[in-house]
Amino acid sequence: MYRYDEFDAAFVAGRTAQFADQVKRRLSGELTEDQFRPLRLMNGLYLQLHAYMLRVAVPYGTLSSRQMRKLAHIARVYDRGYGHFTTRQNIQYNWPKLKDIPVILDELASVEMHAIQTSGNCIRNVTTDQFAGAAADEIIDPRPVAEILRQWSSLHPEFSYLPRKFKIAITGAPHDRAAIRFHDIGLQAAVNGAGEIGWEVWVGGGLGRTPMIAKLINSFVPNEHLLAYLESIMRVYNRYGRRDNKYKARIKILVHEEGLETIKGQVEAEFAEVRGGVLTLPSEEVDRISAYFALPDFAAQTLTKIDVAYESIVDPAYGRWLDNNINAHAQPGYASVTVSLKPVGGAPGDATDKQMEVVADLAEKYSYDELRVTHEQNLVLPHVALADLRAVYDALVAADLAEGNNNLITDMICCPGLDFCALANARSIPIAQEISRKFAEPARQKEIGELKIKISGCINACGHHHVGHIGILGVEKKGGELYQITLGGDATEHASVGKIIGPGFEAENVPGAIEKLVDFYIAQRQGADETFIQAYRRLGEAPFKEALYGTA
């Protein structure tokens, strides 16, 4: 893992001290709320419905056990004993008090963490594949580049007041687990004709009120020129992105309105100016940072295969967990383990301080001290020997973290919704809870197979409903909550935006509506191997609509 150098440590310490002074001045009345609000937002401190909310950055979703223990400690001492992991691979605390924020930031700084740039019109936390550096299908580990992007974008003076917030995602694998086509910039590892590794650059993707799939602006940018190319995009956006209307200020609108070719021409012109200059990545520096992400010195394993069928007979719950929560590892004898934060009836993404401690202990003992946060609001132990899977599973069972539901219908993305969020129009968590209860039966989940439900409590789409195979959007109607259902969204390399299928549903009718869609899919699929999204693409919208509304 990356360790702070003296520059990182100095800027985080400086910023922490600066904000501590700003909090002190606010509490003394020296600063008004109008003066203080932009300062607190720059430090990740929001005001939600019931209390402040502190959003802590988890750079590219990577944590050590020491850092996870610190997050648990903060939850226990300064909050209410839990934290909420988000689709930005960050963690949010829902109940901190303003006077405690300086000491929380001090605690974070002691483990090389902070809350800087988790809000505001700047470049936010760079996100990536949760299996980066471990996945069997990976071309290159994207984390060194993600770290370089973190350093480049942190307190970048030119990009601290962009027209709007800016999100970058990067993946080193052909199978996109980081939703890169729904980010302002998405980067995907690519190999050119000479066998060199570089980056496909996608631009102008996003969700929110105007969902758009990113467009390929460059099919191969060499690693050494990546920063120069990205800075060129940022300059074009900073110059031409709209500042008169916040709903049209994201780069997706600029690309859409001006056209890809126009934007590409401007980016290329800028790139021609800066290419080969100070932003060229020296290979020694890339090597230096890459060294932090060198694979662990894996112990040789004699057990290189697990007989899941056998284990399923002996212990069905363990078998389900092996079936769903284990991802193939590049190193023989190892696997990546997804730790589900989606217990039946739970709030998706929430983990208690005790659970965080358990996962930290497991990372230290079984995963070379590494942890990941996924954009689907789960945790990952990236490097676990197959021989240790049973011990890890048993520890997770004891901590209520062993739900074997990864990628199944109960593994939902869900925003905090109107229970917490000042922007929301409708509740999200209770909807997710009811759906997970309805489909709690493991055999039913297995029968349904891969199905991604994503729930947002407003059009800002923090719950990624646009890219759910089934998306649920809560809206306000006549003072009450109503839920629109979308079908056909997909966040992967087969990116698509879901379409609203018909009139919305009252909250109590949403689980039943989902069941109708699921039953129809099972009745119509060409076999258990045809997933929901595949069946939807084959059959089209009309029969699903008919199944749901019976309009014929």
Binding site: Y82, G345, A347, D350
Partner: protein, 109 residues
């Protein structure tokens, strides 16, 4: 006949608070001062006085009904703000409590 109340979040704790008839900012919705439409000037005066303290933020005027003597905000958002989150807490099966004022969280105008 609907009335109005004043609500906001107390600076140090962030807790939801209401202006009471006694001029203090309190946690209990049931203690909120009800403003009739024709009391707009007094309402705005109270808002201005509160802003001057700097101790209550995100100030809003909310419409409420009085139902069987109880104050009921018209907006669901405000009903949730008054009562706390509705979703049960993971693994504990209990409702999230709302935020409470700390020792240094009491504000008067």
């Amino acid at each position: 006949m609907s009335k109005e109340i004043l609500t906001g979040n107390e600076l140090t704790s962030g807790a939801t608070v209401y202006l009471s008839a006694g001029g203090t900012w309190v946690e209990g919705l049931h203690l909120a001062r009800l403003f009739a439409k024709e009391e707009a000037a007094e309402r705005d005066g109270a808002l201005a006085a509160t802003k001057a303290t700097g101790r209550v933020i995100s100030l809003e005027i909310e419409e409420v009904d009085v139902v069987d003597g109880a104050i009921v905000p018209k907006r669901l958002r405000e009903r949730i703000r008054a009562a706390g989150p509705t979703a049960p807490l993971t693994l504990h099966g209990q409702a999230y409590d709302r935020q409470h004022l700390g020792e240094d969280g009491h504000v008067s105008i």
